[in-house]
């Protein structure tokens, strides 16, 4: 741990960009004012917020008025799912999603199941992709909401949302897309996506933790029940004094991501492919997820014949996530990998490498060397 850490955990949180940090600090240092106040400080805060709203909207091709700021993607997911399901309960009480969604989607769905909704969770193919035809077959007249993420946070696969959206339209169901891992990594426009609700996070793309947004389509506008009440901010959908510095940070992060959208994803994909090229020749190494339909920044690999925890412990200089659990012991192998059919031992010995703006070729090369050495030692230690 005295070695410098190689940070390959951008899908967990991407280090804040110094320019974002500077913009936030500037906002914090500005003349004080609650954005709801009429005096100059308040108005200035409001203006900064509206400028940031426009920048967030621009990255996904949305009108600024369609952006509702939240405290993160978790809240955006909950607002979308709890909000749309409850507000449309008179129309139907059936919801459809995937077993491989993020907890911030699955847990509100589980909550709705306890409220009497019927929830169908589909299992994607072993490559992580859901067949849109299979999804369409799951839709019923009473299906009010479908939630499918654009980029899976563990394995990086990109779903065919155009086909899924078309199926939702035909069935008259709302479509929610968790794009927390997609924004700034995979170019998309809400118009083409044809989604009603899209969740966004700032910190996955070098913005601050603690701020996100929900895109809410304007026309037709999906009915949504707020999670909380009071104050009337964000069109009544999300009350509470708006955190100007946080929103400014998200705006700046999204503006930077947009400016780099034509080179950075390709660069990240290059790093990811280079890393995989170095790991693939090693014995008993398995790529998780579809080999092509994937976001540029995530590479999930399972390693046969070793314990996952030991593997990570052998790599203290490498900040990565694992498909599994932890020294505290109550970890279970990743539910995502299990849903895709990985056996427990392999699921448990999985590393998710995720690259970002500061990642260099030297970083991924060093990571590959480290992993190779760790595998060699641990495999030598293991019974034949």
């Amino acid at each position: 741990m005295s070695d410098p850490v190689i940070y390959l955990d951008h899908a967990a949180t991407a280090p804040i960009d110094p320019r974002v940090r500077a913009a936030m600090d500037e906002s914090l240092a500005a003349a004080p004012g609650n954005p709801s106040s009429g005096h100059p400080g308040g108005r200035a805060a409001r203006e900064r917020i509206e400028a940031a709203r426009a920048e967030v909207a621009a990255l996904i091709g949305a009108p600024a008025a369609a952006i509702v700021f939240t405290s993160g993607a978790t809240e955006a997911d909950n607002l979308a799912i709890l909000g749309a399901a409850r507000a449309n309960a008179a129309r139907g009480r059936h919801l459809v999603s995937l077993r491989t969604e993020h907890r911030a989607v699955l847990d509100p769905l589980a909550r709705l199941a306890r409220e009497g909704f019927r929830v169908t969770l589909l299992t994607p193919a072993a490559d992580g992709l859901i067949d849109p035809a299979a999804l369409e077959r799951a839709l019923e007249p009473g299906t009010t909401l479908v939630s499918v993420m654009l980029v899976n946070n563990e394995i990086g696969v990109v779903q065919d949302l155009a086909a899924i959206a078309a199926a939702c339209r035909r069935a008259g169901a709302l479509l929610h897309v968790d794009a927390a891992q997609a924004a700034g990594r995979v170019p998309f426009e809400v118009g083409a996506l044809d989604a009603d609700l899209v969740s966004l996070a700032a910190h996955k793309v070098h913005g601050p933790v603690g701020v996100g947004a929900l895109y809410v389509r304007r026309a037709p506008r999906p009915a949504l029940e707020p999670l909380a009440y009071g104050g009337g901010q964000e069109g009544g959908l999300r009350p509470g004094t708006l955190a100007a510095h946080q929103i400014v940070g998200m705006g700046r992060a999204y503006a930077l991501a947009r400016a780099a959208l034509h080179e950075e994803p390709a660069r990240l994909a290059g790093l990811r492919d280079r890393l995989w090229a170095a790991l693939a020749p090693l014995p008993d190494v398995h790529l998780n997820g579809h080999p092509e339909a994937r976001a540029p920044h995530i590479l999930s690999v399972s390693f046969g014949g070793v314990d996952g925890e030991a593997l990570r412990c052998e790599l203290p200089q490498l900040a990565v996530s694992s498909g599994s659990a932890c020294a505290s012991g109550h970890g279970e192998p990743s539910y995502v990998l299990r849903a895709l059919g990985r056996d427990d031992a392999l699921a448990q010995a999985t590393l998710r490498f995720s690259v970002g703006r500061q990642t260099t070729v030297a970083d991924v090369d060093a990571a590959a060397v480290g992993v190779r050495r760790a595998l060699e030692r641990l495999r030598a230690l293991a019974p034949a």
Binding site: D307, E309, C313, A319, S328, D344, A382
Partner: protein
Amino acid sequence: MTGAGAYSAEVLRLFATTPGAGVPVGPDWRRGEASEPLSATRVEVYLRAEAGRVADCRYRVRGCPHTIAALATVAARLPGSSLADLALDVRALAAELGIPPEKLGRLFVIQDAVRAAALQLAPADP
């Protein structure tokens, strides 16, 4: 998602150095093994005895750092123990190395492998 920080310095040292690890050569060694499928833990223990007592211990292991450290500790301490009385105090070991209760099962895997090897050396009660 937990890395090295969750382990004590002693666990990390044993994990990094694995004293006593390896497959011994020689006719007097006996092998025992045990495993636990859920965590894919596998423990292979080699014992050599002299005059009814453990003379030496080697091992191979696939397991988490706690398991590896516990096994290295056991291997270092076994020599001198009577084959007739090879009970490990699993709970004391867990406490000593800071191994969480959820992982006690893995220490029993070690115990089982040691016993299996010992059985080969002292096949039956007199």
